[in-house]
């Protein structure tokens, strides 16, 4: 409550410095003082303070709001999720954090699949619960909060989601935005209207800094399209031709451009490169039955051991933007293998099929085992071109390559092996990972490579193998399975394996040595998750149940 200023000043200073009579009070207060008669000044002032409190309380009406006024309800385009899904959300809460996150993701996906938004009554619980969850979950939440949720978040920044930056389609984002905003704008435009994006880039190109140019080239090369040809070709011939005094970023741009051009079959660079590569193809005779079936000749790609007129520092640097020699931390046996490796991610697998006239399986075997690519570095050994092939397989999302390349990655580096596992369709993934007596599938990193669409699940057979191995691990090895593995498995086990899980529990109770601990929390986690998944299953319209 506000206080009359002169009275406040007087009370702050004190009557010893300023008399009460020096203050001009409103008439009603003055009248009140007059009624007090002759009392000590201090008492008088305290009485005045009392009077002024009630004077202000009674006399000061609430202020008027002068801002904009709108009481139209926030309209929604989507329907609120039906009441039946609310108890499922509440059932997630007793789960452990990771399992809860996985099941919450599924719950959100069920809403998204049905084009529903979260009922307003659940919003507070959802946002409070999920503050600490991953960005992925928050992105999904952003999809189900509806217009009302977005409107509320605009007003309450503390509840804002860590969702990705929304692409701003307004041309002002390109003209006035920061580098990151311009990049997002261009990426979005490249997806929506590639030719428009390229012409916009071409028109403003001269005004861009070299750093920004590199950034936009990365966006283009990420998913090259044939129509990028003219733009890239022009840059390759003009601005980014080799220059002795060029800076590092200039060279980096040339490398990006050449990678893009290599992927476009009608580009000069692609044609010329293929022409030169074909010079290194060598045919050998096949013998025996294989020769009769597959033809007598087999083609191999053999790199020279010495620099020649193609594999030399000048061509590699000036044409492709590669380093003139391999950096010391690279495992490649020679500079030539290093340059070839740098070229590989840009060359489609179909090109190799054409050049070598061999099946994909054979090509992968060649690259994976041929001696010219082999290296031994500390505890690692294998083919140094396999990582580049994995990157290409990821770019093409090539399931067949992933399948054939798998045996060569496991020797090389588990990271690449796991990257390829992620590309496998479920039947292949299951036969590769979930095998009887294969303890590896009980480990979290291996299980995390299972990438199923929402509502999909492992076959009953694979689920049974997993549960059997889980029991063996406990009873025979007397070891506890990693909680993360169970959290992953709980997301994918066949929902009909609930009854088998009960049998597994019985077996554990019966056979578990006295010294071992009954894994009740682990089993409860799987059991509860399966029950939630079973409740959510009807909400997935395109319920993709894996075939046995």
């Amino acid at each position: 409550m506000k206080v009359l200023n002169p009275l406040r000043e007087l009370t702050l200073l004190g009557l010893s410095r300023k008399p009460l009579e020096s203050v001009q009070l409103p008439a009603p207060l003055q009248a009140g003082i007059d009624q007090l008669g002759t009392i000590a000044a201090e008492e008088k002032l305290l009485c005045v303070l009392g009077l002024q409190y009630y004077y202000m309380q009674a006399g000061m009406e609430p202020p008027t709001y002068k801002g904009s006024w709108n009481t139209s309800p926030i309209a929604e385009e989507k329907n609120f999720a039906p009441q039946e899904v609310v108890p499922i959300f509440h059932a997630l809460q007793p789960l452990e954090k990771k399992a809860q996150e996985a099941m919450l993701r599924l719950w959100l996906e069920a809403l998204i699949a049905n084009d529903w938004i979260v009922p307003p009554s659940l919003m507070k619980a959802l946002l409070q619960e999920t503050k600490t969850f991953s960005k992925g979950i928050q992105e999904k939440i952003a999809e189900v909060i509806g217009n009302r949720g977005r409107w509320v978040m605009e007003q309450l920044p503390q509840f804002r989601l860590r969702a990705p930056m929304q692409p701003n389609d307004s041309p002002s984002a390109w003209v006035e935005g920061k580098l990151s905003e311009r990049k997002v704008f261009l990426q979005h435009l490249l997806e929506k209207d590639r030719s428009k994006a390229l012409s916009l880039l071409a028109s403003d190109w001269s005004e861009l800094s070299i750093r920004e140019k590199r950034s936009h080239l990365e966006s283009i090369v990420e998913r090259v399209e044939p129509e990028d040809h003219d733009f890239l070709e022009h840059l390759h011939r003009t601005e980014f031709t080799y220059n002795q005094k060029e800076k590092k970023l200039q060279k980096a741009c040339r490398r990006l451009i050449s990678q893009g051009l290599l992927e476009i079959p009608h580009s000069d660079l692609h044609k010329k490169t293929l022409e030169r590569l074909s010079d290194y193809l060598e045919s050998h005779s096949r013998s025996g039955l294989v020769g009769k079936i597959r033809g007598r000749k087999k083609t191999e790609f053999i790199l020279p051991t010495q620099f020649d007129n193609f594999w030399n520092p000048e061509v590699m640097d000036q044409q492709y933007g590669f380093e003139a020699s391999k950096p010391s931390d690279q495992p490649h046996p020679t500079d030539i293998v290093y340059w070839f490796d740098a070229m590989l991610p840009a060359i489609p697998f179909s090109t190799w099929s054409q050049l070598m006239n061999r099946e994909l399986a054979e090509i992968m075997q060649f690259f994976g085992t041929h001696s010219q690519f082999q290296y031994i570095l500390e505890d690692r050994k294998g083919s140094c071109v396999v990582p580049a092939l994995v990157r290409r397989a990821q770019k093409e999302q090539n399931e067949a390559v992933a399948k054939h390349l798998l045996p060569y990655t496991i020797l090389n580096d588990l990271t690449f092996y796991h990257s390829l596992l992620k590309l496998l369709p479920l039947p292949e993934w299951e036969s590769e990972v979930i095998r009887p007596s294969n303890r590896f599938h009980l480990f979290p990193a291996r299980l995390s490579t299972c990438t199923l669409t929402a509502g999909a699940e492992w076959t009953q057979k694979a689920s049974k193998i997993f549960l059997d191995e889980f029991v063996k691990f406990h009873i025979q090895d007397q070891r506890s399975i990693h909680l993360e593995s169970l959290e992953s498995a709980a997301q994918f086990l066949h929902t009909d394996s609930l009854s088998y899980l009960e049998k597994v529990e019985q077996k554990l109770i019966k056979d578990l040595p006295e010294t071992a601990v009954f894994p009740e929390p682990s089993l409860a986690l799987v059991r509860d998750s399966l029950r939630i998944r079973r409740r959510l299953a009807p909400y997935f319209k395109t319920h993709t149940r894996a075939k046995e």
Binding site: L7, L12, L13, E43, P62, P87, H90, Q128, W151, A524
Partner: protein
């Protein structure tokens, strides 16, 4: 009666108990579950040999659990309530097991007995009690008067020397005077002194305004108390309560003059405040037929737990409230609770706007100048952001600011449920702003 998760959260004695309860709110963890019209029950495996047996009286809220926890309600009781709130079907409707029926019947009988006023004393006993009480009161009055004199002197010194030095005063300046008031058997006055000690000294204008308000109100109180014999008995009761004369619950319940009100009470909302080593729980109730407001208070400390079973915000209860005597009876206790009601019998009456609330409050201030924490029902208002503050605006665009510490999650809920529209609300006007208690979304009331 089904509670919402938020309501159950408020019932939890600690956040950890609620979290633990949530983990157990899973039907699969329970060995048996059931419900009847008046109770919930379940058996859950604990660390002991036998499962814990949990039963809850949902009509006249009470809990019983065989677990050894000292928390009340324990995590098992909270879990059972949560289970019911999440999925009522998880607790099948059944005939009450004998042990549950027995407990519920016992509670009914006890409630009936408590509600009956204690047997009247004989004339001789009454005379003796009156004499003893009068003697104690006279002795206390002497102490209080001396305390008031000390306090008046202290206040006079303060205004003579000026308040500018107040932020730099040592803590003992306030604590010594507060201790003097406690010694003078006037703990209510000690609280006023402590309020001066704990002013928001980091905000210059705020502390100065608040200090002047406190000085004014306190001085008027001291003056009025000294002349209390000139006042009607109701005002005397108010003044004594402000000074710190505590009336024992038993004492005023047995007084035939005590104001009793039977009604269906809507529990508008509740808060808890930490006052040094004491936690004060306040709940605001509104009588749907009588249109009367009441406030229940309960206290908790390290050494003493709450004496009353907490009420569930947003619930309706058929009960008889006994009001503490005073010029505007406001603080009350539940004398007799018949059961939790499920039907809302009458629509509440709302003040049309802030102007109406202002007039109503001014009228109350005229009768009781120290009135505080009064609840109001306000029609058609809207939550808006104004700079860094949240305001509650009425249809005529008049507004009052919310208390600065009003939690953001409650603002989120108000915005979500309000959907940019005008809402009927229950609020409390406090010294530092408006405290929203809940929203009316007919036929439901959503407590915050």
């Amino acid at each position: 009666m089904n509670f919402t998760e938020d309501q159950i959260h408020k019932l939890a004695p600690k956040a950890s108990a609620f979290t633990a309860g949530k983990k157990l709110a899973n039907a699969n963890r329970w060995q048996s579950l059931g419900r009847s019209k008046r109770g919930l029950w379940g058996e859950i495996k604990g660390s002991g040999k036998n499962p814990y047996m949990v039963h809850i009286d949902i009509e006249n809220l009470a809990y019983k659990c065989t677990c050894p926890s000292r928390q009340f309600p324990c995590k098992h009781s909270l879990a059972l309530l949560l289970l019911q709130s999440q999925d009522e079907q998880a607790l099948p409707m059944q005939t009450e097991p004998s042990y549950v029926a027995e407990w519920l019947d016992k509670r009914r009988n006890r409630a009936e007995k408590v509600a009956q006023t204690s047997s009247p004393l004989s004339a001789e006993e009454s005379q003796e009690r009156y004499k003893a009480k009068h003697k104690r009161a006279t002795e206390r009055e002497v102490f209080i008067q001396s305390g008031i004199e000390d306090l008046q002197k202290w206040l006079k010194d303060m205004v003579r020397l000026g308040l500018l030095e107040l932020p730099h005063k040592p803590a003992s300046y306030f604590t010594d005077m507060a201790a003097k008031m406690v010694d003078a058997k006037a703990p209510g006055l000690a609280a006023w002194v402590k309020a001066l000690q704990h002013l928001p000294y980091q905000h210059t204008e705020k502390w100065q305004n608040e200090a002047l308000d406190i000085l004014g109100k306190l001085y008027v109180l001291l003056q009025a108390y000294q002349r209390k014999t000139e006042q009607p008995p109701e005002m005397q009761a108010t003044l004594k309560s402000l000074i710190g004369w505590n009336l024992h619950k038993k004492e005023f319940l047995s007084d035939s003059q005590t104001l009793l009100q039977k009604d269906t009470w809507l529990v508008l909302g509740s808060i808890q405040e930490e006052l040094e080593e004491l936690t004060v729980h306040k709940s605001w109730l509104y009588g749907l037929s009588s249109k009367r407001h009441g406030m229940l208070m309960d206290f908790e400390s390290k050494f003493a737990s709450r004496t009353e079973v907490p009420l569930v915000d947003g619930s309706l209860l058929d009960a008889e409230l006994a009001f503490y005597p005073g010029i505007l009876p406001h603080r009350a206790v539940v004398k007799k609770q018949r059961h939790m009601a499920t039907q809302n019998p009458d629509a509440p009456t709302f003040l049309p706007n802030w102007k109406g609330q202002h007039d109503s409050r001014t009228a109350l201030l005229k009768q009781n100048p120290w009135i505080s924490d009064q609840a109001y029902l306000l029609a058609k208002c809207k939550l808006l952001r104004l700079g860094d503050r949240w305001i509650l605006c009425d249809e005529e665009k008049r507004y009052k600011a919310l208390c600065p510490d009003f939690p953001a999650d409650k603002i989120l809920e108000m915005l979500m449920m309000g959907n940019n529209q005008l809402l009927d609300m229950a609020i409390v006007e406090r010294h530092n702003g408006i405290l929203p208690l809940g929203m009316f979304n007919p036929p439901a009331y959503i407590s915050l």
